[in-house]
Amino acid sequence: MSWSDFFLMQQELALILLALVLLVVEISLDTENKHKIIPVANFLFIPILVIGFLNTSTGSLFGDMYITDPTRILMKNILNVGVFLVFLQVSNWLKTQANNRNRISEFYLLIISSLIGVNYLISAGNFLMFYLSLELTSIPIAALAAYEQYKHKSAEAGIKMILSSAFSSGILLFGLSLLYAGTGTLNYGAMAIASVDLIQSMGFIFFFSGLAFKISIVPFHLWTADVYEGAPVAVTSYLSVISKGVAVFVLAIVLITLFGEIQGLWQEVIYVTAILTMTIGNLFAIRQKNIKRFLAFSSIAQAGFILLGLVGGSNFGTTAVLYFVLIYIFSNLAAFGVVSVIQNASDKENIYDYNGLYKTNPRLSLVMMLALFSLAGIPPVAGFFGKFFLFAAAAEAGMYVLLLIAVLNAIISLYYYLLVVKAMFINSNDQPVPKIESDFFARAGLILCTAGIIITGFISWIYEYMLNNSFGI
């Protein structure tokens, strides 16, 4: 192993460096100036995004503990961009909330630690690394969910998140130990899961359940709504796109590279859970009054759609998943960005508070509308293309019943997404949210998201690049 090999870990090393730099900056700032870390963190994050595109070689490090290839780097880039957008959204909230003033750098440090976990999770080549980085992704976020611990709901969200993540880790570890019992190794490469014998199928089921907690696939979704509602908006948006995205990515990696031979088993599992997740997510989303709970259930439903891409296990399907997650990051973060701006300015988070938003804040309403259209999959915004490829993947696998249910669900989802749009544009309100002047970072974040929503669908080389680098059985 030579020095240059370390550049295979470019993104992780850069993130660790960033975390250390921020720690030093934090020490050097005095109490009154803690908010100055916000621009530092935001601007220093841009090189991280650039670094991700520099070196896209394939290789493995530390005796296959760490694997990297263009697909994995692409996945990391997608999620890093997502975190950058979260950072842009969060700036104003961090700066204005008096209670947070002496804990601003901790927020960045925790998100970055979690992101380091995300990157290592994608590149894990061994279940030990897998487990450790999975914990690294979730534990800092549990602390952040309780960031506003003076609010009852935030503290509750923190404790719910840590308990459910500990529980799911326990289940996942039990599954891993059964897989280890069956194969005698934890290394992806050496772990040839060839036949469907009892111990390995049971190991897989437990493993899948543990991961399903993180993606909040029904029936492992019960923690989602409460945590999303209680946690600060920025943490919720991180949870709903980054945590979910990375879990989907590793599920895809593991299913195809490790469990490829037992596709028959997991296909059924995913088939059933996809239907459950879409349907239950949608049905509960209709009933929600709180915008954060609403987006929580909408994100559960979206996870169900994502599973459509995995069910066939084909190259085409995983491409659709990658592509959809990218679009989902833009759309969901745009929605959460608007929610964050409005909550920050007026502390309102119910759907009826959005009545008449168009009158006072036309631009915010337009962004929100685009985001919801994209989530619903209405052409011509990017969400349509994302969903289209997912459905096509299910069709390619020949699962027409599943496809039919998915289309029905897409129609249901259209209804409740449009409810919010109707509230903003048509419903009248005596006391609408007053006009909001958002700050530079929030505005930049929303513009980037909107651009992403509009452009991603039309730039075909993004999709082609993904298709060329994607993997399947």
Partner: protein
């Protein structure tokens, strides 16, 4: 002889684990947990995985349980009792436990494991240390370092939760 000791320890683990979830006094639950973890260390000692045994004692008994007891000391009164759960819940839980344990036992018993031919020798401390810091195949330096990031993040997280807000705001 070893078999007897094993069954004694395994029985102790089971009994204390059961006691720790059924007792209604929270500190006693922690103490039963302590005994269950200690008996596990006993099994490690029995199979001569000394390092693992010592780590089990150091981390779980001397670390985790001490922290648990500490937090109980700070938060609960001696006369506090957890409320008795409803019998329906108890039954449902018992059913679930029995089914789950039965399933796991069945699966594990059905599987014919490849029994290794070579005699098992417990690794020495230096073997473990070298493996832990080796970066070649089978080395664990990367997880080792990731754990340090995890611990750093956990510490920052604890600070975030514990940090006092400014009083005058």
């Amino acid at each position: 002889m070893e078999t007897y000791i094993f069954y004694i320890l395994a029985g102790a683990i089971l009994i204390f684990a059961l006691l720790s979830v059924t007792t209604r006094r929270v500190l006693r639950a922690a103490v039963y947990l302590l005994f269950a973890l200690g008996s596990t260390a006993g099994i490690y000692f029995m199979v001569e995985f000394l390092f693992l045994a010592a780590v089990q004692l150091l981390v779980y008994v001397g670390g985790v349980v001490v922290l648990i007891i500490f937090s109980i000391l700070l938060t609960s009164q001696i006369n506090d009792r957890l409320e008795q759960p409803e019998w329906l819940k108890v039954m449902a839980t018992m059913l679930l436990v029995v089914v789950g344990a039965g399933l796991s036992l069945f699966v594990i018993r059905e599987y014919d494991f490849n029994i290794s031919e070579t005699a098992m020798t417990a690794p020495t401390v230096s073997d473990i240390g070298l493996k832990l810091l080796s970066y070649g195949p089978g080395g664990y330096v990367l997880p080792f370092e990731v754990i340090s990031i995890l611990l750093l993040a956990a510490m920052i997280g604890a600070i975030v939760i514990a940090k006092r807000m400014k009083e005058n705001d």
